[in-house]
Amino acid sequence: MSDTAEPRPKAYWSRIVDAIARHRALAVLVVLLIFPFVLPYEALASNIVIFGLFALGFNLVFGYTGVLSFGHAAFFGVGAYGTGIAIVHLGLPWWVAMLIGVLAAGVTAMIMGALAIRTRGIYFAMVTLALAQCVYYIVYQMKGWSGGENGLNGVIVGQIDLGFASIDLLDPMQKYFFTLTFVALAIFIFSRILASGFGAVLEAVRENEDRARACGYDVRLTKWLAFVISGLFCGLAGALNAIHLSVVPIEILHYHMSGQVVMMALLGGMGTFFGPFAGAIVFLLLEDVVTTMTTHWQLILGLVFMACVLFFPRGVWGSVLQWVRR
């Protein structure tokens, strides 16, 4: 058996990975389409695509701009609360409610971004954390609208009539594909943004801020825009989460949620397009499987994190890429 008779498996895999990298949006979609059929239950699949989108949106700031935000729970949460409040208290149709949620998250990101962009490095992480905590307490105190600690309950959409077809959100499979439609659209837009001129500027800023500035780019504006766009994507994830769970829990705004999305991105590999999504998949699957086996799931989770850092510093997807291309 000679090497020419059959392509070497390494090269084989490498070609597949290259193909995936070229059509990254399409590749993700193929995986996501078979998702609910291989996972133990559809609600987990919905959770994963929602958190995948959340992590993807977060990574625009973290992976592509190179600043660590510890306040992204604010956008995820405001997106969810905006949507939930519009449905529960204002009685608006679901799509208007989602739009409100996304826009509310965008506005939150505009304000937080404008304040936080002034700081750098670890201080940026801490300012975003502090501002997100402020959002948490404001929402917590708006008990009439948000339900306070009890959370916002009864975000019920039920049936969606599209004219030509009707979607029953009580059916878990239909709900998954409803969610996936939005996530897919978002991934497509995200991919287009990265491929655009703006994406190139982002990369320039990440690689060398001073040089980018010297080339005439407005670094601050670029960072701010990235922050706002990131907020919009996370807001959409939040809006979908509200409809998926029919409740908006207050912990959605807690800094633990911000921490969780950082971990997902790091676990998956922050510098890559798929990384955050892969991180969300691994994180949630691991948590789901381990939780039902032992009450000591935190021990397993913690050990996996430590092992990842020590042995797979590029994250799950980053390590796959490295192995294949070696």
Partner: protein, 291 residues
Amino acid sequence: MTVNLVLLQLFTGLALGSVFVLLGVGLSLIFGLLTVVNFAHGAFYMVGAYVGVFALAHLGNFWLAMAAVPIIVGGMGLVVERFLVRPLYGRGIDYPLLLTFGLGLVLVELVRIIYGLEGVPFDVPEVLQGAVDLGIGWFPLYRLFLIVVTAVLVFALWLFLEKTSYGLVIRAGASDPEIMRVLGVDISTVWLVVFGIGTGIAGLAGVLSAPMTSVIPDMGTTVLVQAFVVTVVGGMGSLLGAVVAGLLVGVVVSMTALFYPELSDLAMFMLMAAVLLVRPQGLFGRKGLMG
């Protein structure tokens, strides 16, 4: 609302702040020298309380237990630095952050396995029980003791850093690790020692807090964030900053609790946001660090 009450509340804030000082000092030292954001700091605090429970049960004496805790927890810190954190130097702040986050989860869960979930009782030692009349109102004797311990410890730390030759090495290492290497000083030993001191103080804070709050595996979670706030407000790597910020945060929280109690949790974050927006490197931080 009398003047006495406001004064007493101020004093309460200082006592509360002294716990923040202990937490902030360790975290700030570790960050300032190693540029490691230690997410396991809260877990070491919790471990300190449990080691205190263990030591008290075996030594039967609060004072001996209190002395044993920083040594044991600091020793654990040494092991963690040597075998887990050291391989990650030079890879940016993200990796030690993730590692210590994972370590925090593991430590909490190990304590859960050993001591159970419901928490263990830990009483104030007999001689420190009760309250004393300060003239403005009653104040717990134990909290007075806490202020004294914190003051002594901070002073000792200051002496160590400013007046001993090893302290000089540490300070030099903080400002320029490269020079140290050129001069032939083993910087990795300095980092090891600093990590040990930082975690040891966190452990001490834990055992000192144990008689006031409940000793439960989750006790470190909120504390971690408070420690971050103190460190960031004071400026990463500044001992003076951690002391001032710790007391300031304590007083701000305390005053909010008097006038608008339900927002007392938010107060420290508003303070932090305000400080960072006006002075992004913190009150006593150096410009350019991690920047």
